[in-house]
Assembly symmetry: C2
Amino acid sequence: MQIMINEIKNWIKEAAELIKKEIAKNDMTVDTKNGRRDLVTNVDKQVQDFLIEQINAFDPDAKILGEENGKDHLTDFSGRVFIIDPIDGTLNFVLEQENFCIMIAVYEEGQGKLGFIYNVMEDMLLWGGKEVGVFINEERLNTPPDLALKDGLVGMNSSMYRKNSYNAQVMAERSMGVRMSGCAGLEMIALIRGKHNAYVSSLAPWDYAAGSVMLEALGIKFSNINGKMLKFDGREHYIAATPTAYEEMMRLAEQAKS
Amino acid sequence: MQIMINEIKNWIKEAAELIKKEIAKNDMTVDTKNGRRDLVTNVDKQVQDFLIEQINAFDPDAKILGEENGKDHLTDFSGRVFIIDPIDGTLNFVLEQENFCIMIAVYEEGQGKLGFIYNVMEDMLLWGGKEVGVFINEERLNTPPDLALKDGLVGMNSSMYRKNSYNAQVMAERSMGVRMSGCAGLEMIALIRGKHNAYVSSLAPWDYAAGSVMLEALGIKFSNINGKMLKFDGREHYIAATPTAYEEMMRLAEQAKS
């Protein structure tokens, strides 16, 4: 596993260099996908192609699920699967040139083995899994304190908050405050580091795959908003939180349905 | 003015060291002010006392308006006034130990002369004014592009967004997205650097004084939400945006009242 960890770290650092070069060149092509806010750039595609090349060279038998280039659907999760998001937070990437992440997850026979989330512009890599532990760069992270909902900050999707989906406004009101970053990777990093105690959003598999591996390793709970296991197929309402906050938030989500 | 700039930079760096030492000691005293989310720590008070000491030594005649220690009200803005927020984003400071700022503004005869916003944990200082220009650390910033509302990100206060105050939800929907950081200083920095194109919140004078000086120097518009000049007395609904976005947002705010 150490060989694979080192390999993936190298891919991420190389992908980050590619991204920084493209930012410096400043001639990105920006297209929309499903709606005017759903952006993709030539850089997203280039980085995904680069990562797929590396994965194929490293393990030709591995399957790949990724946000771009028609790789966004997978039915067979047997064997080893890499789930990748070349640029998570593309809108931030285009408008801010910061607050975006590269994310890679490794699943084996449907089980999360390794997760990597790299905040490119801050050079902050969160990585690890159940077997090796979770690290920020090379420093090991402990399980964050099990804060109640009322004692921490909640990262949240703006549309769920606006519509009070699943009592999202009530969750936010009971917490110390709501935060919106526009980047699932950043929200995952905040949760893994114990800076936030919960995250509620509508996510695709490549948005939650890497983070969930690390959350599981640290005993932070996650599921879809109905308390079911994630399907790794299409978008779902996602919730992750410290165990105590998770229980309270799931009760609130349940009440919203009745 | 250069002497004053250098002085204030030194105060800020020294205050930042004090804050980092307190974070390392990890034995903060946290109290609430108006409500359970309105926090103040012994560090806020210590830093404000330190800044007041420096101001008094530098200019004994200057008046001071500041968030803590009963300095939060001032009626006479003649002469030189320092407006200070020792820790802007205290909730983030307590829960995240990052995403907070030190802010200092200098006003003379009611006119904004200098503003300083320091993102302590990222070592990022925004400073300047109409006469000297605006800088990020020692690099001069240009006026950001005059993006329309639809082309940029809007920083927003969660309560105004939830309640759709002044059509805040409509503003957010027409933009590329809404962001919430829980720190006025960070929102000002994003606006000054052209990463966001608007900011709408409910702010006290020490929240908007430093940022507004730099916004004015860069031609970014700001006012209270009714289009009136800020009162520098108590909390007001604040709006700041690129000129084009400002016009559209003010029309939406006006429509909400009729």
